[in-house]
Structures are given as C-alpha cells and as structure tokens.
C-alpha cells in the first residue's frame, strides 16, 4: 500500500533546506574542495604533459568529468551518512511519520533533496571551472537539470541502501565497492576506449558514466551526443524512485 503526497514530500524537502542553510559550511570540504584538488592535481599537473584528449584540452576534459562526480557525491553523502544519522540516531523520521507526512513522503522528499544537493555542488563546481574557460557552449545552462535527474538516481540508490543497512559501518563498502569504482572508471580522468570491452560494458550500466558523457557533451556544445545518456538517466530515475519509498515504509511502519 503506497501513500504518497507531493505536498508532504515538499515539506520534508523544505525541512532539509532549512537544515542545510545552517550546516552547508561543513559540507564544503568533501563536496567542493575535493574535486577542486583533483582538478589542480590532475588537470594542471598531469595536463602539463598530456595536452589533449579526444580533441579537448586535458584540464577541460577532467573538469567536466569532475563536475559530474561532484553532483554524484552531493547526492550520495546526503542519502547515506546524513540520512542515516537522522533515521537511526536522531530518530527524526520516526517523529515525522506520526505527523500527516507518510514514509513515502519522507523517502521522496529525501531523494529530491539529495538531487537538489547534486545541483548545488555540480553547478557550483562548474561555475568555478568556467572561470578557466572550460565551459564552451550555452548548452551548459541545461546542466543543472542533468545534475538533478542524475541526483535522483544516486539518491534513490543510496537511500535504498540506507534503509537496508544494519549498521553505519557498511557505508564503507557502499563507497569502496560502488562509488569509488564508478569514480575511477566512468571516463572522468581518461576515456574508457583503451580498456577491455567488458569494462566499457559494465560502465554503461552505471549512472556516473552517463552523467560524465552528458556533462561533457553539453558543456562543449554537442547536445545530440548527450541524448542517449539523458534518456538512460531519466528512465533509471523514474524506475528507481519508488524503491527507497517501499524500503523506508517497511522500516518505519511495521
């Protein structure tokens, strides 16, 4: 039995926004400084030797990939550690499901908030790298929308894991076995062409690969290239959104 209200989800989203306004300073290092460090180390350090990849300056190649991963980390931290603390330690979710809000409202509100964080961090990073001339096309203006849709995917998967995990310690596995491999093998730092075919096939089934491709294509003005990736992300976002709602209801309403 599903019980979802868009207004309820919006109220929960608003709550998270209020909390974020008070705490965002603490999220800047992991969500913003880290990709900047990667950009400086690889884009400038390695870029000094490796001038071009796929016809793009290496720093621009890496910067667009890192914008996509900043969006991924924004959603993922929100729906793993943040959600877990509120769920298990603060027990805020237990309190909220005795108000008119349902478990589904909480799940969807949390996913939409995670997606919002994707937009915030992905866009902020993009604005900074745009100063270095990395963004070349007005199509880049559509990227916040891309970050939102992909944020829904990353948030839904992360929140589903949070609803299932018996312990906060298991998040290290979530990161080591899922987030980090995606980060390394989604074409952020190098194209996958040179790797064995099965790596490319595996990458196709992970979301970050598509976000990286779409981000790069739109930032450099080839929207047609991005279309299959955007379709992939939209379909998976819609398909996965109900998953955390079902799992969270099971945890909150017995």
């Amino acid at each position: 039995m599903m019980d979802f209200s868009p207004v309820g989800a919006f109220r929960f989203w608003q709550r998270n926004l209020l909390i974020f306004r008070k705490t965002f300073a603490f999220t800047v290092p992991e969500n913003f400084l880290e990709p900047v460090l990667y950009l400086l180390a690889l884009g400038l350090g390695l870029g000094a030797y490796l001038r071009e990849i796929q016809g793009l300056p290496y720093v621009a190649f890496v910067a667009t990939g890192l914008a996509a991963s900043a969006a991924m980390f924004g959603a993922t931290f929100e729906c793993t550690y943040n959600a877990y603390v509120q769920f298990y330690y603060d027990r805020s979710y237990d309190a909220i499901v005795t108000t008119p809000l349902s478990a589904e409202d909480v799940a969807v509100g949390e996913v939409l908030w995670g997606a919002t964080r994707s937009v915030i961090y992905g866009t902020a990073f993009l604005l900074v790298v745009a100063l270095f001339g990395v963004v070349r096309s007005p199509w880049a203006l559509t990227l916040p929308g891309v970050f939102f849709v992909s944020g829904v995917v990353f948030s839904a998967v992360a929140l589903a894991f949070t609803a299932l995990t018996p312990s906060i310690d298991l998040f290290t596995y979530y990161f080591s076995l899922w987030i980090t491999p995606m980060f390394m093998f989604s074409g952020i730092f190098f194209p996958l062409d040179a790797l064995p075919g099965w790596v490319q096939t595996a990458a196709w089934f992970t979301p970050l690969y598509h976000v990286v491709r779409a981000t790069r294509a739109l930032a450099f003005g080839s929207p047609a290239v991005a279309v299959p990736d955007l379709v992939w992300l939209a379909v998976v976002a819609v398909a996965f959104l109900p998953l955390p709602a079902v799992l969270l209801r099971r945890r909150l309403v017995q």
């Binding site: 019980d3 805020s92 008119p100």
Partner: protein
C-alpha cells in the same frame, strides 16, 4: 464521543504477540492511561493509534476513522510525544517547533506565532535559539510536548512522558499535562509509574503481556482489588520466612501478596491490623502502614511488581 475505540486489537511481530486482544475506549476530554511494566505492549498500542504499526487483527478506530486506512486524516489531528527523544538536533528549539508546524500545513507565520506561544507554555523562551542537545532531559521532554501541540491536536498521545526524569522535572511535566487537561485536551498516556497514573489519569488500563488485566478509575481499581490500606511487612533475614509469615498473618487481613522478602496485607482498617500484627511477634525487620496503590493492584493481578 469516543476518540479511540479498540476491539480485540492484536499485534504480532512474527511469532511474538506484543498486543494480545485488547478492547478499550477513550472518551473526549479524559486522560486515559496504560500502566504496565516494560514489554507489556504499551508502545506498540500507541504506535497502532499513531498509524505507524498496522494491527494484525481486531478493530481500531481513531476519531471514528479506521486505522491504518485513514492514516493521514487521523495523524492530522494527533499530537504525539514519543518514548524516545526524536528532536532534530541540527535545528534550534524554536526551529524544531516551526518546522513541525509546517508538516501540518500551518503557514510560516502561523507556525512562528504558535511556536512563541508554546515556548512560553513550556518555559523555554530563554532557550529558544539553543540547539536541542544543549537542553536537559526535562526540557527536551517539555519541548516534545510543545511540539506535539503545534497544530492544536484533538488527541495527545504520550508514551512514557516522564521516564528517566528526576522527580522535580517529573512534577513540572505533570503540571503541564494537568493544565492541558483543564483546557480540554484529550490525553492517552503510558507509564510504568503508578504515581503518574494515579496523579494524571481519569481511567487506567493495567496491562501485562499484551493484555488488559483491569480497567477503571485509579481509586476505584484500588478499592476493588486491594481495599483502602496496606500493611507492609519486611521479613527479617533473606526472605526465606516470608511464606511462613504470610500464612500466619493472612487470617488477619482481607487479602495478601508476597514479593521477595515483603508481605503486603490488604485491609480497610490499617490501624487495627497493625496492632494485631505486632501482637503476633513475627520475625520482622519493619512494619509500615500506607495507602493502597495501583502497584498493589498490579501485584495482586499479575503476581509481579511493576518495576523489578
């Protein structure tokens, strides 16, 4: 009108029967209590009323609406104080109230105004801008009550509202709850403190192992099952003699219970009984005459004490 009606209500978790066929009604304007030890099924019953646990069998209606089918409509008129502290630690005291009001569709302005009123009610004005983790246990509990009142609920549900508080904080909380009752707010609360049930509740259900073993106004229950007074005998030594002492003294009383090294004699005339017990010259460490309480009723009906 009955705000809550339960008929043969059952809740099982797998093989475990948490609530085992209870029936009760809570009338508008009254304070109804569930008194019982840990594990009796009190929280589970409250959770079913709040629509966060689905009944396995039986009927449960809140405001005349079926649980859990009309969960949203029921929860809109409910104020809930959970057994655990469930405040948002990232938010201040005032923000906790305002955000909660928004879940009930209060406008920001209404929510802020209501929060100010309730900060006064809870005597937390001075702490309004502190984070909740800085509050004492008693203050957090008062904040939880204030939060539950944000949307003017028709029914206030309190799950062990004073457990873990020191006596002073407990009395401060009782004052608030009595004040609300005078204002006409219907309350349903659980507790394992018999003093709390006697102080606050118009009617109590004594629960044990998921069942209601007795129900009624506290004084009436005490009268019915125990009488007016209790002479409490503390047997000398390690309590091995308690059975023998009880046997000798039992004839003098209207009823008796044995728990560990203590014997409780039930009577309507304590002075007289005290006199006659002393005359027996039993091996006793202490003899006390006191008013009979719900604790005595619980012991009488279940053979156990409320808190062991």
């Amino acid at each position: 009108m009955a705000l809550v009606e339960a008929e043969e209500l059952v809740k099982r978790f797998g093989n475990l029967v948490a609530v085992d066929g209870i029936s009760f009604q809570v009338q508008e304007g009254e304070c109804y209590g569930f008194l019982g030890p840990n594990g009796a099924g009190k929280t589970t019953t409250m959770r079913m009323i709040c629509c966060t646990a689905r009944p396995t069998a039986g009927v449960l209606r809140v405001f005349g609406l079926d649980v859990p089918r009309h969960a949203r409509a029921i929860k809109r008129q409910l104020g809930v104080v959970h057994q655990a502290v469930t405040l948002d630690d990232a938010l201040t005291v005032r923000e906790n109230l305002v955000v909660y009001g928004r879940y009930f569709d209060l406008t920001w302005e209404e929510a802020r105004r209501r929060a100010d009123e309730l900060l006064t009610f809870a005597e937390l004005e001075a702490r309004a801008d502190d984070r909740v983790s800085k509050l004492s246990g008693g203050m957090q509990r008062r904040l939880m009550i204030a939060r539950a009142l944000m949307a003017n609920p028709r029914l206030l549900v309190l799950d062990e509202p004073t457990t873990g508080l020191d006596p002073q904080a407990r009395h401060a909380l009782w004052d608030r709850l009595r004040q609300l009752k005078r204002a006409g707010v219907t309350q349903i609360l659980t507790t394992h403190y018999m003093e709390e049930a006697e102080h606050l509740c118009d009617r109590v259900a004594i629960v044990d192992h998921g069942r209601i073993v007795a129900e009624g106004p506290p004084r009436e229950l005490v009268e019915r099952y125990v009488g007016r007074e209790v002479v409490e005998l503390q047997v000398a030594g390690d309590g091995a003699l308690a059975g023998a002492v009880a046997e000798q003294a039992a004839g003098l009383a209207e009823g008796f219970e044995v728990a560990g090294d203590r014997v409780f004699l039930h009577t309507r005339d304590g002075e007289e009984l005290l006199h006659r017990v002393r005359a027996l010259r039993l091996p006793l460490e202490a003899v006390v005459l006191r008013r009979a309480t719900l604790e005595d009723v619980f012991l009488r009906l279940t053979g156990r004490r409320l808190r062991e």
